[in-house]
């Protein structure tokens, strides 16, 4: 019998970034007992790194904005593979969710008349992102954290969940360990909300921290839930590229929103060379018009640097591949040039982009008020995730909910910047509410103690192999290298087949991994236990990407470089088959309600 501490909750939330905190707050407001577990300390989750802002059609800066415009922008950005119901709810509810944060103490930047200021961002027709300089995520997570700690929620910091437990079809609990002492924890719960974020650590170059190993994706998959849109990984166009140790760290889109331009080594503004047909009407004809747009001219159209992230990332790749890149394999992002336009440009840059200024100064010895930055694509966000009901966020497993990055649907083939912070508020709230309702309507299930014991043995197995087993870091690094090279921004069939072979071999090696030391705060052990999750999501990404023989959004196939309308009618769904293998299915997209279709027509 394994030795473990047991906790009973009505609702267990796994993950304490924005979505998890928001879900926990809402569930607690629903009058049920709530436990919240997170792998790091509270307030350190990836939401803290979000820079640009939270998208909501408040209409404070441009009163032409409303939910209909936000809805159609989101659908266009997602290439119409989005769950349109989620896109509708998101656009309608984001403003209330943002205002609510203000009631909990958030302090956004202000308009001259004292309301919440909004800024331009890629793919958003009007200035829509409520923000705090370039540290919006910190403001949001701190607000949710400082509000959340007074709502009677039990917070378990530095606890990792290794498996969900079921009772029949429904979810009944979760099993894991605390990182500090390595002691086992059994959580029994009537409903569980996954809010574990993304999968960035499956790739070598990423803006994501160690935590983002696809835990929620893998937990849901292993519990029988369906994953969707796994081929759509967002490579953010602007990550740092030099020095090597900072490669991948995010450079906010806000730099371009404030007038920053992308240049190749010849000094050419290459983004003007390739503007997709469906954005041509909305894009500036000249650099001058683009500049006016960034300065708030309502009659100007956006500069091509603010096209969607998938497109900008591919244009950068093209420049690099064709030999026009910067010295360290990126391109130049220049905000310093605005001194030609503004008298106090350096001051403006430091005020609008303080953490970017700080980041480049301290980590790269570059003063962005005088010198262009070198940037290149970095793995940033997972559009794909747990397939959920748009209204309730419940997965196909009863009692198992998902919200935020771990859930699929809102963003379709490509996410617009700013839509993730609003996503986690809107759907964190919904998941929390419906999880609480589910918990009230259903009796507690009973996890199988035998299963718990089996998991306890499996979790400790790497210690038994000890130094005789292979170290976990070699396997992790090899997976990251190969995924980057074989299933990265530009994909072809042959390479992805190779990736599946690689994943198969690494899965065998991961099963024989060994760790040394003891159970107390042992990162080698933690890394070993994260490996199966990374391998599961990597396989799902590769298989879904093989299945989609076209290029759309974040998914680009060199062997099928065009968008194929036939592929615009379904999502690719992945689930665990009866034989334990991974099975794929094409799920037709339900027909959109006529009034929503009309909104899209009107906004074209």
């Amino acid at each position: 019998m394994a030795d473990y501490q047991t906790h009973d909750y009505d609702v267990l939330v796994i993950g304490a970034g924005g979505a998890g905190l928001r879900a926990a707050i809402e569930a607690a407001a629903g009058g049920v007992s709530v436990g919240l577990v997170c792998k790091s300390l509270l307030g350190k989750a990836h939401t803290v790194m979000a820079e640009g802002g939270v998208a909501a059609s408040l209409g404070n800066v441009d009163d032409r904005d409303n939910w209909r415009v936000h809805f159609s922008d989101t659908m266009r950005g997602g290439q119409y593979l989005n769950n349109w119901r989620m896109a509708e709810l998101h656009a309608k509810e984001a403003p209330a969710r943002v205002r609510e944060l203000e009631a909990w103490g958030a302090l956004f930047d202000r308009t001259p008349d004292g309301r919440i200021l909004q800024r331009n961002f890629g793919g958003h027709r009007y200035p829509r992102l409520a923000h705090v300089g370039d540290r919006t995520g910190l403001e949001m997570i701190r607000t949710l954290q400082d509000h959340g700690i007074h709502q009677g929620i039990d917070v378990h910091m530095e606890v990792t969940v290794v498996t969900l437990l079921k009772d029949g079809d429904r979810v009944a609990g979760a099993f894991g360990y605390d990182r500090e002492r390595g002691r086992f924890r059994l959580f029994r719960a009537r409903a569980i909300v996954l809010a574990t974020g993304g999968v960035g650590r499956a790739f070598r170059i990423t803006s994501n921290s160690w935590e983002y190993t696809g835990d929620g994706h893998a937990l849901a998959y292993q519990a029988g839930a369906e994953l969707m849109d796994m081929e759509f990984v967002q490579f953010h166009p602007t990550g740092m590229v030099w020095p090597p140790s900072v490669r991948g760290i995010l450079v906010t889109e806000g730099v371009r929103g404030e007038g920053g331009v992308l240049l190749n080594r010849e000094g050419r503004r290459f983004m003007f060379d390739d503007i997709p047909a469906n954005y041509r009407e909305q894009t500036a004809d000249t650099p001058e018009e683009g500049w006016r747009y960034t300065q708030g001219d309502r009659n100007a159209r956006r500069p091509p640097e603010l096209l969607t992230r998938d497109h900008v990332a591919r244009c950068i790749m093209r420049e690099v591949r064709e030999g026009r890149g910067s010295p360290h394999g990126g391109v130049f992002l220049d905000i310093a040039w605005i001194r030609e336009k503004l008298p106090h440009a350096a001051e403006v840059i430091r005020k609008k982009l303080p953490s970017m200024y700080h980041q480049f100064k301290q980590l790269a010895d570059i003063d962005i008020t005088t010198t262009p930055m070198e940037v290149g694509p970095t793995t940033h966000y997972m559009m794909g995730g747990v397939r959920v009901d748009g209204d309730t966020q419940m997965s196909t497993v009863p009692g198992l909910f998902a919200a935020g990055e771990v859930a699929a649907g809102l963003h379709g083939a490509n996410r617009l910047g700013g839509n993730s912070l609003s996503d986690l508020l809107v759907f964190g709230q919904r998941a929390g509410q419906h999880a609480a309702e589910f918990a009230r309507a259903h009796p507690a299930g009973s996890p199988d103690p035998g299963e718990v014991d089996a998991w306890a043995r499996r979790v400790l197995a790497p210690f038994e192999r000890g130094a005789a087993g292979e170290g976990p870091y070699q396997i992790q690094h090899e997976l990251q290298d190969r995924m980057q090279d074989l299933v990265g921004i530009v994909r072809v069939e042959r390479e992805m087949q190779e990736a599946l072979d690689v994943i198969g071999r690494l899965t065998e090696r991961a099963a024989a991994v060994g760790v040394t030391g003891n159970r107390e705060y042992n990162p080698g052990w933690h890394t070993a236990l994260d490996l199966p999750n990374l391998l599961t999501v990597s396989e799902a990404i590769a298989r879904a990407a093989l299945e989609r023989r076209e290029s759309r959004g974040g998914h680009f196939r060199d062997d099928y470089p065009e968008k194929d309308p036939a592929y615009g009618t379904f999502n690719i769904v992945v689930r665990k088959a009866a034989d334990g293998g991974m099975e794929l299915r094409r799920e037709p997209i339900p027909e959109m309600r006529p009034e929503l279709r009309q909104v899209i027509e009107e906004m074209k």
Binding site: R99, G114, R142, H147, M157, P243, Q359, P472, H477, T527
Partner: protein, 255 residues
């Protein structure tokens, strides 16, 4: 490629020692990179907290060559690599393992501080109006990434261990952010004097010196809070003026 030696504290609550690790260093590396190299190549079980690697989350606090700093923002190029670089856990908090300390006290203290209580909304739609300068003043405090380096360096906590009587600079910055929030209506001044022990701070400004966010903790947060305590508790004339002016306002608004 050149080599450098890192002298890392290895141990737990029962005790520990400094262990030397030689590792290769390259252009642009920070201390956290070196710790990660050592972890993946020589000591898989070397315990260290980190998340963002960009100075935004405040997880990788440590003492580098004796100075409280973020490992992710300390570049090797600013250190003398001809000597071993010492990397130790924060000394003010109980050790868990290696570079990881038990910082849970900070979270408990925060929970004990009265939460944000906004005034009634300014507009019919439930929203407020605030000016940018009013917001800016508080945003300085809200930049705090909760790395707890200020707590680590504060002699009241570090040398005198008065964790039960003094909430430390980070928590005072939190109180300042609430007290100076344009919408907040709560009064935390009596607690500042009693439970929060603000009097223990003798404004040596060590906290300000180590803040990676450049928050002027002593000048902009702690001293103004001390002034509020003095105004409310030790200034009889000011107190009388306040009572009368409050009565006056109340009478005025009642009319």
């Amino acid at each position: 490629m050149t080599q450098a030696t890192f002298r890392v504290w290895r141990g737990d609550a029962a005790g520990g020692k400094l262990v030397d690790y030689a590792t290769e260093v390259s252009e642009g590396m920070v201390v956290l990179d070196a710790v990660h190299h050592i972890q993946s190549e020589q000591a898989n079980d070397l315990a260290v907290r980190w998340n963002c690697k960009a100075g935004k989350c405040g997880s990788c606090s440590a003492e580098i060559n004796g100075k409280p700093r973020l490992m992710c923002m300390t570049r090797l190029s600013e250190l003398d690599l001809t000597e071993p670089v010492t990397v130790e856990p924060m000394r003010t908090f109980p050790p868990v393992r290696d570079l990881v300390t038990d910082v849970s006290w900070n979270f408990r203290v925060k929970k004990g501080i009265r939460k944000f209580k906004p005034r009634a909304p300014d507009a019919a739609d439930g929203t407020w109006r605030m000016s940018q300068p009013d917001v800016d003043r508080v945003q300085e405090f809200r930049k705090c990434i909760e790395c707890f380096l200020c707590q680590d360096v504060c002699h009241v906590l570090r040398d005198h261990h008065l964790h039960d009587e003094f909430i430390g600079p980070r928590s005072l910055v939190y109180v300042a952010a609430l007290e100076m929030h344009p919408l907040d209506t709560e009064d935390r001044v009596p607690e500042l004097r009693q439970a929060n022990g603000i009097g223990y701070c003798n404004i040596t400004k060590c906290c300000t010196a180590v803040c990676p966010e450049g928050i002027r903790i002593t000048d902009n947060a702690i001293i103004p809070l001390k002034e509020r305590v003095v105004d409310q508790f030790f200034d009889p004339v000011g107190r009388l003026v306040k009572i009368f002016s409050r009565r006056h306002t109340e009478a005025g608004s009642g009319a």
